[in-house]
Amino acid sequence: MLTLAGIGKSYPNGLVALDKVSLDIEAGSFTSIVGPSGCGKSTLLRMIAGLDGPSAGSIQGRPDGEIGLVFQDATLMPWADVTANVYLPLRLAGVSRLDAAPRIAEALALVGLSDFAGAYPRALSGGMRMRVAIARALVTRPRLLLMDEPFAALDEITRNKLNDDLLRLWREQGFTTIFVTHSVFESVYLSTDIAVMTPRPGRVLARHRILGPAARDAGFRASAAYLDGCRAVSHDLERAMAAAV
């Protein structure tokens, strides 16, 4: 279990981005952090990744080994083809190209890009670029995958498809996922757990557990569990916005 205990983040100019954020994230869960822009959810994710330090509090129980990280932008190296982009985390860890080859092939197969191993990012669509970013995050077989609004810039059809693919990967691979989004519907569709955050300063306002089958599809969007979840999370998000004004 990953435990965030009393996390605070304040800046020299007096801005308090996060205030006493405490959150338990169960191993193997799919936890979404939902909140309006400015609630510090991306900052929180960066702290879990170890890219940012908290001003107060602590983070315990980070899994051993690598952490996968996916941003809103695919953030690929434009000068490198798909294979080289996916190879990057292994290359930085000193794995030889030869040893990495089967793992790269496996990661590309997971996201359905086996036929595009030699393509360059500029030749790919936004959705395919995002798949490359996911393959790159998964190539180290992380126990924890962090995603910062990964599908926000994509069209709805692509987003739904990637949501389903991500759920499948999460079920098959068994990694813990922490997913930052501002979309209530996306979070309820994907998650087992949801934390709603308030803006300025960022606090955890409420937690929700979404019941329902682990294997979800379009039918889940018509189920009571989904609709109840959306209603409850939307309600809390409105409260979060009201608290900010």
């Binding site: 941003f71 953030t75 434009p78 000068w79 860890a93 500029r122 670029r129």
Partner: protein, 256 residues
């Protein structure tokens, strides 16, 4: 069609030039007709070619030296603010001081016996700055998301330099190289003018010599060769640029 317009303009200009010089009896030492320049080029070709190769050799050496030096210094600057703060003002001083003004000094220091060394140093000083400034800019223009990934995966400083900073700097670096190559040629020619003596064998010195002897057609021929050299250098670097950047030109900005 529009591709051939410059060629057409060139032919028309040459024709008008040839005719007006002949019809108006313009003295050859003021403006020789193109036909005479072509003849001068033909008869002096072996000698001019030697001179051209000498100039080209110095130009390329100066370009290589500024490229290596400028890039190395830029890497140092990006690594350490302290070094940048300490050295950048001197690089700027070198850049803004007219090369013609420092030329005599450099000639006295190193060029008394070896003019070509003085020329090389002067041309390098001229060509150095665009590489330094473009490389510094390029090395800093790393995608912050990629920089985060390199941190997440605990990349070493060397990995960050070779796998992230240098590739990110490539477009800016090549743009700088194009400017620098042109300046290396200009620097070489100017330095040959200033430093040149009987010893100098470059194309610029052939121009001075021709002017002194009022061999104006030969001077024009040398001038023509210089222009062609500049064009060739520019085209060569454009070609390298195209080859190295063809994969990411469009993807350089926002996702499309």
């Amino acid at each position: 069609m529009t591709r051939f317009l410059p060629l057409l303009v060139g032919i028309v200009v040459l024709a008008v030039w040839e005719m007006s010089v002949r019809l108006l009896y313009v003295p050859v030492f003021v403006l020789p007709p193109p036909s005479m320049i072509a003849e001068a080029l033909w008869t002096n070709f072996p000698q001019l070619l030697d001179a051209l190769l000498e100039t080209l050799k110095l130009t390329l050496a100066a370009f290589a030296a500024s490229f290596a030096g400028g890039l190395a210094l830029a890497i140092l600057f990006v690594r350490s603010r302290l070094i940048e703060r300490s050295l950048l003002p001197y690089a700027v001083v070198l850049q803004v001081t007219p090369i013609v003004a420092i030329a005599p000094l450099i000639v006295i220091w190193v060029g008394v016996d070896h003019v070509e060394r003085a020329v090389l140093i002067l041309a390098t000083i001229v060509a150095f700055f665009p590489i330094l400034s473009n490389a510094s800019f390029g090395l800093r223009s790393v995608d912050p998301g990629l920089a985060d990934l390199f941190r997440l995966y605990r990349a070493t400083g060397r990995q960050r330099l070779w796998l992230l900073q240098l590739p990110s700097a490539l477009p800016a670096l090549l743009a700088g190289a194009r400017i620098s190559a042109g300046l290396a040629l200009i620097g070489t020619v100017v330095a040959e003018f200033v430093a040149g003596s009987g010893e100098a064998t470059g194309l610029a010195w052939r121009i001075v010599e021709s002017a002194n002897r009022l061999e104006i057609p030969r001077m024009f021929a040398a001038l023509l060769l210089l222009s062609l050299t500049g064009l060739a250098l520019n085209a060569a670097i454009a070609q390298i640029e195209h080859r190295l950047l063809r994969h990411w030109h469009a993807g350089h900005g926002e996702a499309g």
